[in-house]
Symmetry: C2
Subunit: 430 residues, 2 copies
């Protein structure tokens, strides 16, 4: 394939990061259509695009078509911190892990720019652009993204992005946070490495499952040739508006999040302080994702009184044992010392829980349900907040015999992007 390098506009004086949203999306249209781009860097990509336009291969209307709608009450994508962490939990989640194919840092920056532009556009309800062959049309949508979809797209970087098998593919090894060390092996772990880790994670949450599907699909499509999907986990919570969701054992999950409701407490427990760890993680947070299979049949055979003793809470109301309401303060001496709540609280650390239930069919012979919790938490430090809690729970929790952890991942979620910038930008300034 031969491309003319002449360009209708002068690009020399433009900084790469100042490309307009529309320009980045146009580059993505080319990337997504499977065109092999032999040159690195954004300027050459843009030149190719202009060349395509001159050859009539880009739909003539694509450049002039303005986005038609913007959801004024959508959750903003741009901001000092990423959405989908402290923002209210939506009903549906698609959580994808990608591995980089390319080993060029410019390609990494390129895909982060493309993903940022797409995520901002889709979050704002500007629709899913089509990249059919050489066409890119704003007016064609796989799915309508209305404000009620409450779409958020959240990015994280895995340990392998910084160094993999001892190789520093992107020159980022010195930027690797210590927090990205694997979580130590725990009793009850039965991990599948194929469904754990990955270079980059994208958590897509929405109240509309079709929207979440198409957002992941689109982000995967535009990364063609640069990154490849490693695994996807989907999940759901119950639609009890504003109430703490129940896990599949019927107990409310995330009641303690109320202690992290204020911005001040999130600053203390969730958002990374600029004084700790690498500078690029300021206003970021660390994400732990652990897929925990739950034995529904065994639970069904466990009496209510025993179930409540195991959790340390009443099933119906969610109140701590001995109390009336879900948000009543836990009195430690009133709940069993091997209960889930007693052990989790005894550590004294706080994490922001944002988990989703999953269901993935049945075991062919027994008919047992393959279901559980895709546990997600956000914290300033995995090793001082999360690991001590997990270690205690894995050893002593009365709930453990009902659980089996089948995947485990840690990602560093960078701060949010500002308009004109891109997710993870700070990482490349170090």
């Amino acid at each position: 394939m031969k491309h003319t390098h002449e360009n209708e506009r002068t690009n020399e004086n433009r900084d790469e990061s100042s490309y307009s949203r529309r320009e980045v999306l146009k580059m993505a249209a080319l990337a997504g259509s499977g065109i092999v781009v032999g040159m690195s860097g954004m300027a050459s990509l843009f030149a190719i695009n202009s060349s395509f336009k001159a050859n009539g291969l880009v739909h003539p209307e694509s450049e002039d078509t303005q986005p038609e709608e913007v959801n004024k009450d959508a959750i903003p994508f741009y901001g000092a911190r990423q959405a989908g962490i402290g923002t209210p939990q939506q009903m549906y989640m698609y959580f994808a892990a990608f591995d980089m194919i390319s080993e060029e840092v410019e390609k990494l920056k390129q895909i982060l720019k493309i993903w940022t532009a797409y995520s901002a556009d889709m979050t704002a309800g500007r629709g899913l652009r089509e990249t059919n062959g050489q066409q890119q049309m704003n007016s064609v949508r796989e799915s309508s993204i209305s404000s009620s979809a409450k779409l958020t797209v959240t990015f994280g970087f895995g340990s392998t992005l910084f160094i993999r098998n001892g190789i520093d593919r992107f020159g980022l090894a010195s930027q690797r946070p210590d927090e990205l060390n694997d979580i130590p092996s725990m009793p009850g772990d039965s991990l599948n490495p194929q469904n754990s880790g990955g270079d980059i994670c994208i958590q897509v949450c929405s109240n509309d499952p079709t929207v979440a599907f198409h957002v992941i699909r689109k982000l995967a499509a535009v990364s063609s040739g640069i990154a490849v999907l490693r695994w996807i986990q989907i999940g759901f919570i119950d639609g009890s508006d504003g109430q703490t969701p129940r896990n599949l054992f019927g107990f409310r999950d995330g009641t303690a999040n109320i202690e992290l409701a204020s911005e001040k407490s999130k600053k203390n427990h969730v958002w990374v302080d600029s004084s700790k760890g690498p500078a690029w993680m300021a206003n970021g947070t660390y994400l732990v994702a652990r897929k925990v299979r739950m034995d529904m049949e065994k639970w069904e055979q466990t009496s209510l009184i025993k179930q409540e003793a195991i959790f340390g809470r009443l099933k119906n109301s969610g109140a701590p044992l001995g109390k009336q309401d879900e948000f009543d303060v836990v009195t430690m001496r009133e709940i069993p010392r091997n209960s889930h709540v007693w052990l989790a609280r005894s550590v004294g650390t706080k994490i922001l829980r944002r988990s989703y239930s999953y269901f993935e069919g049945i075991a062919p012979m027994t008919g047992h349900l393959n279901a559980g919790l895709f546990f997600i938490s956000f914290q300033q430090s995995v090793h001082t907040q999360f690991v001590p809690m997990l270690s205690l729970l894995a050893k002593f929790d009365a709930l453990s015999p009902f659980l089996s952890t089948v995947s485990s991942s840690v990602f560093a979620c960078p701060p949010g992007a500002s308009e004109g910038g891109f997710i993870g930008e700070e990482l490349f300034k170090g």
Copy 2:
């Protein structure tokens, strides 16, 4: 295990089918707790229950606890025809196929009675009863079932229920409808028999995915020892309120259903006439379920103009080619003769579509999405309405190269149950 047969009440004069809802649920509580019941028939089960109560093994409050809430705007379970067919489509589906373990017809009737009672209760929002060990408490719920969940539970009988490998397990072979013959093998079929067929299907639909999960879970749990889950398929549609859902290729799916909106047209095309087929199927319908994997990556590479030519409709509006609005009348000469719409309409038969999209992860090496459509249609006759349409599509449809059918099932959905009766009751009167 030895049980006293003495009974606090006199049961002699009661017909089996007149057991109260609460009595049937109590039987289910025992069934669900894994207690092996060596005697057949309902009366003995009830006797055992009373015996348990006398022995203090049944929670003393369980009999006196009244259901607390009833959703006045829930979709009624009881009625001449089953819900979940002609009723508005909900956002989520759990479709389960069960195989009978027991070969006693009384056990089959028993589980149908139990399932009917549970389904009616849960649909009405009376909550999910717990069957923890010997307890059964109305006040304990895995999930709140509000009217907004719009739960429907729909039952169907597979060919094997009537005769399996030449064996008439339940004495029902003479009642088998000819319509239950397998759908002939089609080009593009790549069927997995493990995920096809089954003795009994239950389609659970709700706007709350957690509700749908727990309803299937509970119906599976109470069938313990009588039936076993064979497969479960879950699905979703987009949340575009009241609009025709889009399939994962971005095209509206089910536009033609408007031709079946009236009760009169449903009588002509969906509900089985008492003059045709076995008498027990009057007011029933035949369900076809075919899982169709869709090649998302190939579709992504297909231009919009080609996509629209393949479907015969515009992607954004859903209008037939050459028209403005989704529901404009199709002019056959304006759309390609190998388009999906042209071929489907050329047969001249009408079917009621009620399909759901599915997503089941990615292929490990390629990252390709395992996604598609769990096609469901309801019709008076599979062989005169559905098979001719499918045969034409499978051969000539321009969409076929993007599709692969991985499961296929046909079920006979009996009429609805009336209060005091049970689903499929008519089958045992033949």
